[in-house]
């Protein structure tokens, strides 16, 4: 097991601190991630999908060690990440890399491509010579399909197109030869015409190198092309997870169903129905009691308001809904 996340939570508390001495504030608790369990094998791509604000990025930041969880366990190659970070932060960062959403913002505008790609090696204090650094940068850029790499070494990020920038980000992530890559919406800011080359690149790297990839997106339509497994998040929790195919074909959580229904389809011959959920995702500081989805759920029952649903499963396919896998609520998606 490359990654094993168990009941992970991240709560932010706002309005604490010194001024609270005067008792003037009532601290606000934001439950950004609220009990998430995930598993990932090497060579697998796990998709993480959910509406804006559901905690995807927070989860990603915890996974790469940018933030520490409030509770729960995070095992990486069987070791607790918290321990890893404590004992050797640098080594941990060598193994887990992240690719960000904004290919411009995640590249330092003042650095050349060569600097950007070699910086991780420098920060790791690997003691490489200048020539070795350059060599590894070129190799990483080639891996990211920036060819010929030499041509780009002295360029600045603003001289590259969005797709090229995202490749540089990938090269930077690759240069340390990580075991796990977390990609937070890596293609959402790219033009349609080039999105898929990036997706394909990531998929190829995962398979070739047998590494793990967590692919975060809010766009369900991009998922089948890359993911093996899928987890749907809602308000800090995974409400449905399983193999990609299973979920697309037999989505059981009403939220997943709504997400699927809301995505427009480019095929003029298919008419989709409109999702029948209402309202917007509530604030993470104000999570509804009972099933957190009940205020928007078309099937909500009094029970949903009262108790938090337990996880139900059918093989690898799991869902957190009182009525999951019940025949009458199951909607078979258009084939």
């Amino acid at each position: 097991m490359l990654l094993d996340v168990q009941d992970l939570a991240k709560h932010y508390v706002l309005g604490e601190g010194f001024s609270n001495l005067f008792g003037l504030s009532n601290p606000q608790k934001i439950r950004a991630v609220d009990g998430v369990s995930l598993r990932l094998q090497p060579g697998e791509v796990l998709g993480l999908v959910g509406e804006s604000g559901c905690g995807k990025s927070t989860l990603a930041r915890i996974l790469v060690g940018l933030e520490s969880p409030s509770s729960g366990a995070l095992l990486f190659n069987g070791n607790d990440i918290a321990e890893d970070i404590k004992s050797n932060r640098k080594l941990f960062h060598q193994k887990v890399q992240m690719i960000f959403q904004d290919p411009y913002g995640s590249l330092n505008p003042q650095h050349t491509i060569e600097e950007i790609v070699t910086r991780p090696l420098i920060y790791q204090r690997l003691g490489l010579s200048k020539a070795e650094l350059r060599e590894r940068a070129i190799a990483a850029l080639n891996d990211a399909e920036m060819m010929p790499a030499e041509r780009y070494l002295n360029k600045f990020p603003h001289e590259l197109s969005g797709g090229q920038r995202q490749r540089v980000c990938i090269a930077r992530a690759l240069v340390l030869q990580p075991d796990l890559i977390v990609a937070d919406e890596p293609i959402s800011m790219l033009d349609v015409s080039i999105k898929w080359s990036i997706v394909r690149l990531l998929k190829r790297l995962v398979k070739e190198r047998n590494i793990g990839l967590i692919y975060i997106t809010h766009d369900l339509s991009s998922v089948p092309a890359i993911c093996d497994k899928l987890a749907i998040m809602y308000l800090g929790r995974v409400v449905e997870s399983g193999l990609c195919d299973d979920i697309f074909k037999h989505a059981t959580h009403p939220y997943t169903q709504a997400l699927l229904a809301a995505s427009p389809n480019p095929n003029p011959d298919i008419r989709r129905g409109r999702p029948n959920i209402s309202g917007v995702i509530p604030n993470a500081s104000d999570i509804p009691a009972g099933c957190r989805f009940h205020p928007r759920c078309p099937n909500a029952q009094p029970q949903c308001e009262m108790e938090q649903p337990a996880e139900r499963h059918k093989g690898y396919h799991r869902a957190e809904c009182h009525f999951a896998f019940d025949a009458k609520t199951e909607v078979t998606n258009r084939a």
Binding site: V192, S193, I194, S221, A262, P264, N265, P266, D269, P275
Partner: protein, 347 residues
């Protein structure tokens, strides 16, 4: 109006426009021709930077100061807006043509209440007092599904979806005949996007305005527009009834766009179009898509193809490609990424 014969509301003729950047012209629009009929919804798609917003701004008459329209006409019911006086244009804006802008977050003035911003739009054109204008704003908010008491909120107090609705409400304030929507939902989640389109559909049915929908997302156009215009690098490369264009693209670019969208019902993997759009500050003689096009020949590089009817049976079906006639045979190959890779720019 009584009969079925659709009348042409807005007609763009041979429009050329460029931006001056450091003394260099950047050709943002070239030879743009199309017409909108009453009540119809037209989708305008194309990659980022292909001139979609420029076109809409040209129609609204709010181009940046460094932009210049060098040729053509924008006719609203036979009146050429480009010939009209400043004051006439001002009067006509919002009254006849309103716009839903690309980013609703920035389009609302952060220091004024949303209600006041709507009222301002009304009072700039109608001789009504504040009460009446406010009554109209209330009505509009109900129309777009926002509680009217929130008229007194400031923009930052709205969520993205609500802001977008507020902008839609504002666009409808004077019951314009044409609404230009510039990527109204790009920044929003799918579910919210869906809710907004549901509302728009409803409103359009009720108020019978025409609409140009600008978007990156072909799927959205397929679902909501009867006609589509595909732009590439400042030019219209293909246009026609949406379903027909999507089913049977005659321009390689359209085909590329089509197959770059994942289609859960189809067996192909989405493709990507290698390369990037051309630098518009350079003079381009031939077809602007030629460098990325797997069909490109030397003719394409030298000669700009005209926008002509590609289907004898339908004059509205137009394509700008020298090889449109080959498309029927080659179309299937565009599913295949390796076919695209044969284009010139691929490294």
């Amino acid at each position: 109006m009584a009969n079925n014969q659709k009348e042409v509301l807005l007609e763009i003729k041979n429009l050329d426009a460029h931006y001056n950047v450091d003394g260099q012209p950047v050709s943002a629009l070239q030879d743009v021709n199309f017409a909108i009929q009453k009540g119809e919804r037209v989708g305008l798609v194309g990659e980022s930077g292909c001139g979609k917003s420029t076109l809409l701004k040209a129609i609204m008459g709010v181009l940046a100061p460094n932009a210049q329209i060098t040729r053509g006409a924008i006719k609203l019911r036979e009146v050429d807006l480009l010939q009209a006086s400043q004051e006439q244009r001002r009067q006509s804006r919002w009254n006849d043509i309103a716009m839903i802008t690309q980013s609703a977050l920035n389009a609302l003035n952060p220091v004024h209440k949303i209600g006041d911003q709507i009222i301002e739009a009304i009072q700039s054109h109608r001789d009504v007092d504040k009460q009446q204008a406010r009554a109209r704003a209330t009505e509009l908010f109900e129309l777009v599904g926002v509680p009217p008491q929130r008229l007194d909120d400031f923009p930052h107090q709205f969520s993205g979806g609500m802001r977008q609705r507020a902008v839609i409400a504002m666009a409808l304030a004077l019951s314009p005949e044409i609404v230009l929507a510039d990527e109204p939902t790009t920044a929003l989640d799918v579910i919210v996007q869906d809710q907004i389109f549901e509302r728009l559909d409803l409103l359009q049915k009720e108020q019978a305005f025409s609409m140009i929908l600008v978007t990156h997302d072909l799927a959205l156009v397929v679902e909501s527009c009867s006609r589509i215009i595909v732009m590439y690098a400042g030019m219209i490369v293909e246009k026609g009834p949406t379903h027909e264009v999507v089913r049977r693209p005659f321009h390689p670019y359209t085909a590329g766009l089509r197959y770059a969208i994942p289609d859960p019902s189809a067996e192909y993997e989405p493709i990507s179009i290698p390369g990037a759009p051309p630098d518009l500050s350079q003079q381009i003689k031939g077809c602007r898509f030629a460098p990325r096009c797997p069909l490109a020949t030397s003719k394409c590089e030298l000669e700009m193809p005209p926008l002509v009817s590609s289907l004898a049976s339908d004059a509205a079906r137009q394509t700008r490609c020298h090889h449109a006639d080959q498309m029927d045979q080659l179309r299937d190959r565009f599913h295949d990424q390796s076919f695209w890779q044969t284009a010139k720019t691929t490294s």
